[in-house]
Symmetry: C2
Subunit: 177 residues, 2 copies
């Protein structure tokens, strides 16, 4: 999600799309068998930019040069807002998906990885959301159905990139030892 996210000062902003987020997160999504990777931004020029990048790898020169990359990037779908994503998943699955916020900060509602992994095994549709810039807005986090606990390393430093955080979270929820 590139909106609603926070800047360094905590204001709600729209962040710019980063090319490597598309590649790294779609490759992780493909690795862990996630069905779709929705890239959300309300800015139409940013949506066309993402569309151009994806089409290079899915239909253009990139698809022939690197078919593994095609398999990853074809899971990307660009959308205007989280509400539209919820609606599309609801239509496709026949039930409203649960929304899950991720954050580097502990929330009083935080659910652990182990417990959430069990919930996912029920097969009910679920949208795991990741914020770019300084993370998802507090208002969005409070409105989500679940808040996933922060990733604990072995220190109190909690500034992973969104690419690292998404990879680690998919591994904790869907990976195999």
């Amino acid at each position: 999600m590139h909106y609603p996210v926070m800047n360094k000062a905590g204001d709600v902003i729209t962040a710019a799309v980063t090319n490597l987020d598309l590649h790294d997160i779609s490759r992780a999504v493909r690795t862990y068998g996630v069905k779709k990777f929705y890239v959300i931004t309300p800015l139409s020029d940013q949506r066309s930019l993402v569309g151009r990048i994806v089409s290079h790898w899915v239909q253009g020169m990139g698809a022939t040069y690197n078919p593994d990359r095609r398999e990853a990037l074809e899971r990307i779908q660009v959308e205007n807002s989280i509400e539209e994503v919820i609606e599309k998943v609801r239509t496709a699955c026949g039930e409203r998906p649960k929304t899950v916020a991720t954050s580097a900060k502990k929330d009083r509602r935080s659910i652990g990885f182990h417990d959430f992994r069990k919930k996912l095994e029920s097969g009910a549709p679920c949208i795991i959301t990741f914020g770019t810039a300084w993370g998802l807005s507090e208002e969005f986090i409070s409105s989500a159905d679940y808040v996933l606990e922060p990733i604990k390393g072995s220190t109190d430093y909690n500034h992973l990139s969104v690419r690292s955080a998404a990879s680690i979270i998919l591994d904790r929820l869907l990976g195999r030892d």
Copy 2:
């Protein structure tokens, strides 16, 4: 490591440094309490480029603008070769570090994450190596003391970015639930 790594055809090459590898992997290194992040390339212009990027975030404008980023990037040290890194770690720790190769392919010597995590707990110095481009050269992998098993997602797709792979591996070896 940017050398010796493979290109798409399996030839041994020197890969170019990617800026976001420095940021993402140093942030993961800081999160999981790893002491140093050695960026290895035999190309002197690439070593100066990394030096310039790191110094922007460690001593320059970036250090004031984003002290969290400073804390991560100051763990980076640029070196010419893995042999020099082994020698520096040996001098600093008083014993020769073990080298651990990572790969997306299963090796007959592969050691599991759980078993290797236990080895790390002994506190003996250890260099976990990650290849850029299409991965570490086969010759380097055979010469390493250990080969870590590949990351299993929930599919047979094994094309994670080096940024994702490094993050997930540090989490599996050093993360806390």
